[in-house]
């Protein structure tokens, strides 16, 4: 029986993937678990494993091509089998016999559905009902007949909605709600002076001139665009800032690193201290280590510390698990490993999903201060500037040379109030200014 290999859905936001390169060639024998090809998703490059054995007989999508999730990539045949004409049609789907459909879990997609839901959710919570996953626009959309009619009328793309009906079904209410929040509810009668801009147009149309380059969006770019637009437009951000005395930190780091070098151990970076301090502060101010859950606030039991890492196409935020329980050297080792693999696109989805708080550090680029956009569904992101040498007034009132870092904190006001944000920033400052505490 010919087995079709389709583009797997490797993350919940993935709608298309790039076939980076085939590892197996036409004519190769394939065993279960063999790596067939490398696939690039919106987040990372991953290996696509075989779930059936056979001979790779035909390849429909060549290296470097981008295709939708579910599109047929290749055909596996058993010994002596021939392709029937139906199965060999590359794009036309499911022409093969219907009973085959059930037994072809082909690619890595069916291995384990990857939940985007934040982990370590509230204590004792058991998720008995599958979280409604927003259906990819290419797949089957679960929507009521009424919802479909209303969506067609309002011009709402059902694939972008989360259903609130039975089993995650999209119902009329969901469509109407989204129609209100995005676009085309019929505009009110024009009253020139009072016309409100429709909320968040999807993109301004830009006409590239002759010399301008048009760069197609990578999967990662699309995700960044969508998530950060959603964050900045739906989360009520507010910002706090504090300047911290980086002198003790610099001295401590120098003496640790000098000793570590002679002992042949790894050095600590300023960022390692910042990460450790964030983990401690988040554990001490649990209100900041939380997410807005619609009708409740989810306060996370663990600090799943995300750290923004710039990569070629954009950025990813790998997560240091249960950072509150890790020593500074464990954190240092973890982020070194995660960042290296992020740059080579070798992160697994579970390594960049489920963060509860994020650190973004642009100090290495000489940036003095900034405010990062919150990484949803988290409520707090810490923005770290570079160490600046400047005159400061010391405890005895004299102007002396000093070293300072400016920390910014962006907070979701639905979850974190000013006082809580200030308390969190205060803890961060306290530990960074007394960095020996971070070694305890």
């Amino acid at each position: 029986m010919p087995i079709a290999i389709e583009m797997p859905k490797l993350s919940d936001t993935m709608t298309e993937g790039t076939l980076v390169r085939w590892i197996k060639k036409v004519g190769d024998n394939v065993a279960v678990g063999d790596v067939l090809a490398e696939v690039e998703t919106d987040k990372a490059t991953m290996e696509m494993e075989a779930f059936d054995e056979g001979i790779l007989t035909e390849i429909y999508v060549q290296d470097g091509n981008k295709v939708e999730v579910g599109q047929k990539l290749a055909i596996l045949l058993g010994k002596g089998e021939k392709i029937d004409s139906g199965a060999s049609q590359p794009v036309q789907e499911n022409k093969a016999s219907p009973e085959k459909k059930g037994e072809q879990p082909v690619a890595a997609a069916s291995k384990e559905p990857i939940a985007s839901q934040a982990p370590g959710t509230a204590k004792g919570e058991k998720n008995s009902e599958p979280t409604p996953v927003s259906p990819a626009s290419s797949g089957r959309v679960k929507a009521s007949p009424l919802a479909k009619k209303v969506a067609a009328e309002l011009g709402v793309d059902l694939g972008t909605l989360q259903g609130s009906g039975p089993g995650g079904r999209i119902v009329q209410e969901d469509v109407v709600a989204s129609g209100k929040s995005t676009t085309s509810a019929p505009p009110p009668p024009p009253k020139p002076e009072a016309v409100r801009q429709p909320a968040a147009p999807k993109a301004l149309s830009v006409m590239p001139a002759l010399e301008d380059k048009k760069l197609p969006l990578s999967g990662m770019r699309k995700t960044i665009a969508a998530r950060l637009l959603e964050s900045k437009t739906t989360i009520p951000h507010f910002y706090l800032q504090a300047e911290i005395d980086a002198e003790p930190l610099t001295h401590l780091r120098q003496s640790i690193n000098a000793a570590a070098e002679t002992a042949g151990l790894g050095k600590l970076t300023v960022n390692d201290f910042i990460l450790k301090a964030t983990a401690v502060a988040a554990a001490r101010v649990p209100l900041a280590n939380a997410a807005f859950g619609g009708d409740s606030i989810i306060q996370f039991a663990n600090v799943q510390l995300a750290c923004a890492v710039a990569v070629e196409e954009g950025l990813v935020t790998p997560v240091i698990r249960e950072a509150q329980n890790k020593s500074i050297s464990q954190i240092s080792a973890a982020i070194k490993d995660l960042a290296a693999r992020a740059r080579s696109k070798k992160l697994k989805p579970e390594e960049y999903q489920g963060g509860t708080i994020t650190v973004s550090n642009l100090g290495a680029y000489g940036v003095e201060q900034f405010y990062a956009i919150i990484n949803p569904p988290q409520a707090v992101i810490v923005s770290v500037g570079t160490i600046v040498k400047k005159p400061v007034i010391n405890a005895t009132g004299q102007i002396v040379p000093g070293q300072r870092i400016i920390l910014g904190v962006s907070c979701d006001h639905r979850v974190v109030d000013g006082a809580v944000g200030a308390q969190f920033l205060g803890e961060l400052k306290k530990f960074l200014e007394n960095p020996t505490l971070l070694l305890l």
Partner: protein
């Protein structure tokens, strides 16, 4: 040992909530002061359906035998047996609930519970022993009892509530029923079918006042034809109760005095509150809950009749499941919006969603699709041509806003339309579904067509 959930009350809210929590892997106890199954199973839905089946059969044999070509002499019935059959059905089902408790490893505790503190419940056993148990969560599902009228305390003989009426022996010669909601109408039908002279008194303009007016008017005519005296827009002024019977003064268009062996008071229900913790109540005395079914006391939830109308077993069960899933899972509980309502007299009445008058009051745009059973082959074949299907179909999209059925098996036919509303099916999906022939359900199909002028047989 501490429970994850203790449910107070073993009726359709309580036992269903307890089982769902057990299914979610929780340690659960259910405290019940009488017998598992609640009003529904012991003193409501189930035993009355048994009585009404007797009434329906007897009515056909007695009044319509010649239509069907039956001939017999001396048709009679055994009143005691009619009642004992009804009781044995209830007994059997109550045993079934106890079995389900065992199967789901739920501790079934017999006694009257009171909430004595956060997470603390004391229950008093039949032997008057007090036991204390502790639980993370408490679900109050204590239900409701018949509401009495001031000065008319039920005595089981001359002044009856529904509980008394279903075990009334001997059969009364003359019965006055106060209140023409589902309960009043069902008992009026039952006693009338066996030859009791029944007067049905309703304060509002129609029998089954919550139903679509057209349905109520049709039913009223049918009940009158069966021999029930129906007074609508009529209130009870005075009732004199003696050992021999009751004398009731009513006032509608004019004042009248009715004499009866007994009177049934069916004017709604009153909440049965648990003792202990002071819970915030609504204006009518039912427990006030939020969208998660949480009461004013932390960790204490409530579902079913005790949180107010609609007082229906299937709504109670649904609420309890919502509440329990909200406690233990990430499910976001929903409050009841659309629910079916059924009355089991003959012709039966069933409805789901909005009545025509509610749709008008809400200013909705809609069409009405109606189809009579007199044009339905199966209805004629089984000799039940009475009644119709009426659908309220929204414009412009054609979703079903409400469905109203009066006629044979109306209560079984309503399920299709409940599903249609939940799934937001529009008239086209029902229209496009092949309905088996010959069935009564074809009338539903034809009614959707009728809304848009497409009914074939009418």
């Amino acid at each position: 040992m501490k429970y994850d959930l203790v449910v107070i009350g073993g009726g359709p809210a309580g036992y269903v909530g307890a089982i769902r929590a057990a299914q979610l892997g929780k340690k659960v106890a259910c405290v019940e002061k009488e017998r598992a199954g609640g009003t529904c199973l012991n003193w409501g839905c189930i035993p009355t359906k048994s009585l009404l089946r007797n009434a329906e059969l007897y009515h056909i044999l007695q009044k319509r035998a010649s239509d069907f070509g039956f001939k017999f002499e001396n048709l009679s019935f055994d009143w005691g047996k009619i009642i004992s059959r009804s009781r044995s059905v209830a007994d059997k089902l109550a045993g079934g609930v106890e079995f389900l408790f065992k199967k789901n490893k739920i501790d079934y505790l017999r006694g009257e519970a009171s909430i004595t503190g956060p997470g603390k419940i004391v229950y008093k056993t039949k032997e008057n022993r007090e036991e204390t148990i502790e639980s993370e969560n408490i679900l109050i599902a204590t239900g409701a009892v018949s509401r009495d009228l001031p000065g008319l305390v039920p005595n089981g003989k001359t002044v009856l509530n529904s509980h008394d009426a279903m075990i009334l022996d001997p059969q009364p010669k003359r019965l006055i029923v106060i209140g023409a909601g589902a309960i009043g109408v069902e008992f009026a039908y039952f006693f009338n079918a066996f030859g009791t002279e029944v007067t049905l008194v309703e304060m509002l303009p129609n029998v089954l006042p919550v139903e679509d007016t057209e349905i109520s008017v049709t039913l009223e005519k049918s009940l009158a034809k069966q021999g029930i005296k129906v007074f609508t827009n009529t209130k009870l002024v005075k009732a004199d109760v003696s050992n021999q019977g009751v004398s009731v003064v009513i006032e509608g268009k004019k004042q009248e005095t009715l004499e009866g062996d007994c009177m049934l008071v069916a004017v709604g229900v009153a909440p049965l509150l648990p003792k202990g913790a002071p819970l915030k109540l609504d204006k009518k005395g039912f427990i006030e809950v939020n969208d998660r079914y949480a009461t004013s006391v932390p960790g204490v939830y409530a579902a079913g009749d005790v949180i107010g109308p609609p007082w229906l077993a299937h709504v109670a069960s649904w609420e309890a499941i919502q509440a329990v899933e909200g406690m233990f899972t990430s499910h976001k509980p929903k409050r009841v919006r659309t629910f079916p309502g059924c009355t089991y007299c003959q012709p039966q009445v069933a409805s789901v969603g909005l009545t025509e008058r509610a749709a008008k009051e809400q200013g909705l745009k809609f069409k009405v699709g109606k189809f009579p059973f007199s044009a339905n082959g199966k209805a004629l074949a089984i000799g039940e041509p009475e009644g119709f299907v009426k659908l309220i179909v929204a414009e412009p999209h054609g979703e079903i806003l409400g469905a109203h059925i009066i006629g044979a098996e109306a209560t079984e036919l309503i399920a299709e339309l409940g599903l249609a509303i939940t799934l937001e099916a529009t008239f086209e999906e029902i229209e496009a579904t092949i309905h088996a022939h010959p069935t009564l359900s074809e009338a539903v199909h034809e009614a959707t067509g009728a809304a848009f002028g497409l009914a074939i047989h009418f």
